[in-house]
């Protein structure tokens, strides 16, 4: 313990990593508090509303082949987003080996996964708004806070995915264009990867607390 304190309080830098990586970590901790507050507010309201909370497996069911399959769409979305974390990890690995082409390709695959996720979310929103008639101020299934929390939390997360898509596209374009060759530094890929893994991790919590509960 004493040695740990000594290591951390040594001179010049506390953590032996690049500044950009340190900043991304600190930002993500701050962002964790945003999502944490969203989810805690949701739980608090869900426990205190008088009206019954809608049955999520019914609301989020997809009508396929004559039967309602609960949570089908959301399962696919979750699968795609988690897989995009995998391709991102491969990209970071390739970046560490200075494999420019492989890094760029797997980052673009990650971007594709992100775009697929956001498009499916748009489809989900359209279905819920147009077909099911769910509005922030009310719905046919139960407590009206269901709709408002759903749109707010998934919307805020979707915004993060969208920003991540733009962020990763810019970085992958620069990687492929060889911008980071000169300074011999691909750590920017790892920093972008941190952000992307964070967005995926947050989704796991949203999925667990909003769809499965």
């Amino acid at each position: 313990m004493n040695d740990l304190v000594k290591d951390w309080s040594s001179d010049v830098s506390t953590f032996k990593i690049r500044w950009s990586k340190a900043m991304m970590w600190i930002f993500l901790i701050s962002d964790t508090f945003i999502f944490g507050t969203f989810l805690i507010s949701y739980m608090a309201i869900r426990l205190t509303v008088v009206d019954s909370w809608p049955d999520t497996s019914q609301v989020f069911a997809l009508h396929v082949g004559g039967t309602d399959v609960p949570l089908l769409l959301i399962a696919i979305m979750t699968f795609i987003l988690i897989s995009s974390s995998g391709t991102m990890a491969i990209a970071v690995n390739a970046a560490n080996k200075k494999d420019k082409r492989k890094t760029g390709i797997f980052m673009l695959l990650t971007v594709l996964g992100g775009i697929a996720f956001v498009s499916m979310q748009a489809f989900e929103w359209t279905k819920l708004i147009v077909d099911e008639g769910i509005r922030p101020w009310g719905n046919d299934f139960g407590a009206q806070q269901f709709g408002s929390f759903f749109f707010m939390i998934t919307g805020f997360h979707g915004l993060h995915v969208l920003i991540g898509v733009i962020y990763l596209s810019i970085v992958s374009k620069r990687v492929l264009a060889g911008r980071y060759d000169g300074i011999d530094d691909y750590q920017i890929v790892e920093v972008a990867g941190l952000y992307w893994h964070f967005v995926d991790l947050v989704w796991v919590f949203i999925f667990a607390f909003f769809y499965l509960w």
């Binding site: 040594s10 500044w19 900043m23 945003i34 944490g36 507010s41 922030p136 101020w137 009206q144 920017i188």
Partner: protein, 591 residues
Amino acid sequence: MQDAELNQTFYEGQTIHHPKSWLTKYVFSQDHKTVAIQYFSLSLLTGVVGVILSMVMRLQLGFPGLFDISPDTYYQSITMHGMIMVIYLLTAILLGGFGNFLIPLMLGARDMAFPFVNMMSVHFYALSVILLFASYLVPGGPTGAGWTLYPPQVLLPGTPGYDWGIVMMILSVAVFIIAFTMGGLNYVTTVLQSRARGMTLMRMPLVIWCIFLATVIGLLAFPALLVAGIMLLLDRLIGSSFFMPDIFQFGQHVTNVFGTEYEGGSPLLFQHLFWFFGHPEVYIVALPMFGIVSELISCHARKNIFGYKMMVWALIAITAVSFIVWAHHMFVAGMNPVLGFFFATTTLIIAIPTAIKVYNWVLTLWKADIHMTVPMYYAVGFIFTFIIGGLGGLFLGNVSVDVELSDTYFVVGHFHVVMGISPILALCGGVHHWFPLITGRTMNNFLGKIHFWGTFAGAYLIYIPMHYLGLGGVLRRYYDFKGLAYVSDSLHDMNVFITLASIVVGLIQFLFLFNIVWSYFKGKKVEKNPWKATTLEWQTTTMPPGHGNWPNKLPTVHRGPYDYSVPGASEDYIPQNVPLEAETEGGSSHE
């Protein structure tokens, strides 16, 4: 972003490009010192508006009806005064101003870790101030729900600015949070990752510790305010009912913008979210002023700070505990009484590390070679004021006493002593202390002493009577007290007295601003390091330090920050960058 880091490593001994044009030098400057001065000036100007708004309130309270101040104006003034002072003045000036100026200089860095993000931070701050004042231009004017913005009141017709003022307020606060996050990431990264050689964490000056921890608190607490703001904005704009319960006004179910009824929301949730930000915010303001006062006391009493390590751990303890005390603002809000017991306990516990700090300041002064300079006046005045404020806090922290005193002028008096006068004293002391570093001139001592005594004595004339009003049961946020039998004539007279005192004290604050401007042009020119201070910011080759702070090599640190009056040394101070063997014996470095 990358460039700055490369600079730090590679350009020792090389020349750097200095900005030439007016625009890149003063508006789009990425130099942390310019950014700091932009923060200073903008937040002080905003603070002037805050002072004027407090005058509006005091005139109404002291002389009801005499000045034709409408209830709407009164409530809007309350709201704007609170918001401006807490967020746009104190948070901005202590972290954006002092933080930006001192962190790189005191740590021996060229600049902040991300100068471009730093520049964006001050521009976003400017935007948030513009949005804040733009709320005077929207229909209905700014919101009048008080700075806590409690729903459901804030969205109910009848509250000033319930339709558009609140939207502008939330937008402005959101932009401020973005600005703070950009600045805050910079401060934390810089403190953690870009210190000079030899500058271990336990050799950092206390003010850097304080600003660092305050920023950490801010980065973790502002998200709660952002989320609460977003949810409130959605309640207002898209008709959700996060915070709006079933509520009836004039026999009508209150409806949202789409004409459907609000139902089932939890106003208590907003209070929890708001105070999860709101209480740590007190420490965002308090910690930097602790730090400034530590510097002033050690330097002007020519003595090593008593118990440096204890000070640091006390700060860390305050940071941790500050996140679990928030609901002491909500004892009368209708939450479970068991929670009240928990939060009263934690509230009293946080007094322990705070008291440790106060004792250490006093013990630093004990038998020290005290120079009664103007910064020392402010520092000692701060200790007095802060102790008084802290004692008031003991009353309010206990549930049984707080239930009586909640929402009375006792609370107003208490937090103005802690959050109003104490920061002003610390801040002015800090400005007096570091003014030579920024401009190469000293501030006028005579004006400084007038301002100090006026503020210090005036604070007691204003806020001690307020405590008394509160004990007499006078409630805050009342437009006037006509026809209230229990508010006796003597209490009315006391209100008149407070108003007169606060006008005088308010005018004296302009003396301080005048002193800054006058000294900038006409102040006495001074040599380098006029206070004979040990910390790095005074050891640059030129004063004020140039772009890049250190022209060639970055300094190397060999000792702790407070080597004053070291026995056997030739002078009564040894700067941090003097090697240990350079002076004869008895260096008292900390590690």
